[in-house]
């Protein structure tokens, strides 16, 4: 679909369509489908810097709240890893997002995200990192293994959020 369109045409129209979609997707399903489409693009010869900008735009669109005011989408992306996705397909979206970051991780603006995933002990994040290790087996990215071990050991400041107990 859009990935094919973007690959085949590499034209301004397809790029603008993706840009608009990431900024205008309205609900959980929309965010999920956009994430999956972006992850598909990550497997193509698409400029990772542009792909990361799309991902950040989508993330900012899906995380509009007063706390994010004043932050650029790229800044917000490296401070918060959160998606509200349809319950039954949520993990697919999270997996797509991690694949997306892996494809873009050498982009300057995407580098701080590594620290974010290594300091987030939320169960959903741990599961997403672990699922990558299971799915990829021997070819799993070492950076994900390190991030998972660090996230498991990370102690978030108690004052910053609710205790999980």
């Amino acid at each position: 679909m859009i990935s094919r369109a973007a690959r085949v045409t590499a034209d301004a129209g397809a790029r603008q369509l993706l840009w608009d979609w990431c900024g205008e997707a309205l609900d959980r399903k929309g965010w999920l489908y956009a994430l999956i489409a972006l992850a598909e693009l990550a497997g193509e010869a698409v400029d990772p810097a542009w792909l990361w900008r799309l991902r950040c735009r989508l993330h900012a669109n899906a995380n509009r709240d007063p706390d994010s005011d004043g932050l650029t989408p790229q800044e917000l992306a490296c401070r918060r890893w959160h998606w509200a996705l349809p319950d039954d397909l949520a993990q697919r979206g999270w997996d797509a997002d991690l694949a997306l970051w892996l494809a873009c991780r050498r982009v300057e603006a995407a580098r701080p995200f590594r620290r974010l995933i290594a300091h987030s002990p939320r169960p959903r994040h741990l599961a997403t990192l672990a699922r990558h290790l299971v799915a990829r087996g021997e070819s799993a990215e070492p950076v994900i293994h390190r991030a998972l071990c660090r996230a498991l050991a990370h102690r978030p400041p108690r004052s910053a959020g609710a205790t999980p107990r």
């Binding site: 509200a84 002990p121 741990l126 299971v134 071990c149 498991l152 205790t163 999980p164």
Partner: protein
């Protein structure tokens, strides 16, 4: 402040304590941590299993800890054994005899065909107090 436990009906209705995704995550903690155990087993990675053990001890409530500690012990993470013993002792001190009994039983269960082979770090004392 401990998070109130919500009933399945409350979860379906959207209990106030479960408004955030984090609340839901910790309600279904075992299912979220299962991939971590799978990863540790698939990679035969005791360091990852030990890291998970530390997370379970640190972050979860005692009743949430029990099945995960038991599973880690079954896999051969023997350092889960003293944790289960302490869990049993603490539960008994708080009057939760059922949890104490379960934790003690799990702690004393033999480890057969472990995935990870590690030396026993701490002997289970032979003079354990028995429950009435």
């Amino acid at each position: 402040m401990p998070r109130a436990r919500a009933s399945p009906a409350q979860i379906r209705r959207g209990h106030p304590s479960l408004k955030s995704e984090t609340g839901l995550e910790f309600t279904f903690i075992a299912s979220y941590l299962d991939p971590v155990i799978q990863a540790a087993v698939a990679r035969r990675d005791p360091a990852l299993a030990e890291a998970l053990l530390g997370y379970v001890r640190r972050e979860l409530a005692p009743r949430q800890q029990l099945p995960l500690l038991a599973r880690l012990l079954t896999l051969g993470v023997v350092s889960a054994r003293p944790v289960l013993m302490r869990l049993a002792t603490a539960a008994r001190a708080q009057g939760d005899e059922r949890l104490a009994g379960e934790a003690l039983a799990r702690a004393l269960a033999p480890v057969e065909r472990p995935v990870f082979t590690q030396p026993e770090e701490e002997e289970v004392p032979s003079s354990l107090p028995l429950f009435d």
